[in-house]
Symmetry: C3
Subunit: 278 residues, 3 copies
């Protein structure tokens, strides 16, 4: 298991590499928060490109530093696009992030998420209920076939998703990040509990989706575990800084993008987290 200082060194390295190389990240994501995803990716130093069509997704998979796939608002074309793009990503070993939003709602969503199992996303990010339901759908430990997903909200605690997260990371060989009051990030061996954030992150739409998009930016520059922890840390840091400057969810969102942009590597690595073996 890496020590905390080594992890922090690698987090600072991820931040530095992203700022220096401006990695292009492709996204296939929902129409509700697509703008915030792109703006958050730009704010931390990445470049953003979004598509819907299968062959365009393939081009991005092959040219981007990493990809972000979010199933929030499925359109019919996703039936062709998602398995095709995920297959390409897996075959060429490109890092990619899966956000299994609202897993359990509707037939296509379940079918697609089942298909994605074999393409092993480098990072899976979701709330506790989504992580538990995805592990259930994939027949892994800690999962449940009884979904507690309520729209985009979690009805479960982060702690209750720990086993599912570890099992998912074990299956993919990558990392899993569970968003909640404190965020749980694991590669199946080491786990980190990251603190901070803001009450307002649940009062704006897209704090989770855009965190997924930022995971992909760092995944272009670091291992899945370091990428997921760095993204989680910058969100917790920027969230608490933005809250202190906010008068409500509108001014919070504005300040949050500013703080994502201003956050430096040392501050991000210094944002409070604990590590443990799992």
């Amino acid at each position: 298991m890496m020590g905390k200082e080594e992890i922090q060194e690698q987090m600072m390295g991820a931040v530095r590499t992203v700022r220096e190389t401006n990695p292009m990240v492709g996204s296939i994501t929902n129409t509700v928060t697509i703008n915030l995803v792109a703006n958050a990716q730009l704010a931390v130093g990445g470049s953003a490109a979004m598509v819907y069509l299968p062959d365009e997704g393939e081009v991005l998979a092959k040219t981007a530093g990493a990809m972000y796939i979010n199933v929030g608002t499925l359109l019919p074309v996703y039936e062709q696009t998602l398995p095709h793009v995920a297959k390409v990503l897996h075959e060429i070993g490109r890092p990619w992030v899966l956000d299994p939003v609202a897993v359990g709602i509707g037939a296509l969503r379940s079918k697609l998420l089942e298909q994605l199992k074999e393409y092993k996303p480098s990072i899976i990010r979701g709330n506790a209920s989504e992580i538990i339901a995805l592990a259930g759908l994939w027949g892994l430990a800690g999962g449940s076939s009884e979904s507690n997903v309520r729209g985009v909200d979690s009805m479960d605690s982060v702690t209750s998703a720990k086993d599912a997260a570890v099992a998912l990371a074990g299956w993919t060989g990558g990392a899993v990040a569970v968003s909640g009051k404190a965020d749980f990030v694991t590669d199946g061996h080491t786990a980190a509990l990251s603190e901070g954030g803001s009450y307002f992150m649940k009062r704006i739409t897209g704090s989770g989706c855009s965190l997924g998009g930022v995971n992909a930016v760092y995944a272009a520059a670091a291992s899945p575990f370091i990428a997921a922890l760095t993204a989680t840390a910058v969100y917790n840091l920027a969230g608490s800084r933005a809250e202190s400057k906010s008068d409500g969810p509108g001014s919070f969102q504005t300040a949050f993008l500013d703080e994502l942009y201003k956050a430096g590597g040392e501050d991000i690595a210094g944002n409070p987290f604990k590590i443990e073996e799992v």
Copy 2:
């Protein structure tokens, strides 16, 4: 007819119930303002979920507290989704809000809006031209087959849409809200004229759509008339408060979300309105 004080009591009740129960509201809405719809729904205390596919819409119809259907930017899949979801909503008696944006533009829009007639939306929200054109399309009094809809803008005054609004409410048994300089809300028996708002609400996109989405949040907690009047009142209150803090449409939108979030039940119920029998 209810007296003004009784109406105000019920408005405060709607605000309180929403804040306490955080009702999940499903939306099928346009891609232009979908983010603002969600953020406005969250700001007033609801939870938001957006979908496009028929079976996902059915799941939301059955699990959400209310639904919002806005035909702003139709995609081909809406031909399957909208009539299916509206039928389910009607059959199970779930409250739902219809926003007949740009009624009269294109063949699919007219066909869908004709189909929705029999599923009787609990609340219809639109500008004067849209309300008149919808009543015309549905063959009701006060309607006109000559649409004055110009893109998303109204060419008619709120007063000129009064008969159409009353006729639509008579048909659905629900409420109709006509947005304008002063907003007209009626259940076909009582009408309220709500004042306030801001000049900037016409200089940002989505003030109407997001008001429709907020109508659906309150419809999960109150009768259609009270829900529509409460949503209209919080918009008028937050709009005038935000204008005083704004330097243009950008800062207005930010301040507006803050004020939606901060508005309390007493202030909302105390926002100026007049009632009359119709």
Copy 3:
């Protein structure tokens, strides 16, 4: 060649006409920045309407003052919509703006952009790599079949796109605007180099797309060259004004919309630019 003062007079005329007539502009554009496109169009005094379906696009083409077509995030229906709407625009002589985002990515994008050649957009707006690649796709001078487009970013300098821009304007008989550090606008005879803007315009998503949308607003009120130069100038002016009030990309976007709204005709026409014969 017009003199600088005559150009400035016409720019002030375009600003005045837009503020007085509030022209409705139709857009078919990507889902990432569609909200900012609409808000920017409203901020400068236009009215915005967005659609996806072929017959709805036709209605807008026939009733709007101008149209904006941006191929950023293609959906399957674009295969029907774009050639149909562009054909109508060309036949009735309605001004329209083409934004060839990410030209070269995917088969449908190339096919559609090839089809659009014969419908001669009044204004083509893009970054240097997109302008060079479009000229290449259309077999014009200054173009290259080797695309340097990287997602939505330009890898080429504005200067290197000068020949392609002039050739495209020669083909369409309209204007071409190349966005970059200084922006190059030409009608094939006269060229203007417009200065200003902000570093933050590359750190938010949609500064290019929304500029394209604002090009269409002014195209409803002025010649393609004057419209493109006026739109470019108000962007450069508002960008530099907003930067001085910003703490990061979030507050920049808010301030930018405010400054677009507040910019007056004299200030816009007075924003620094040089003209030359090409």
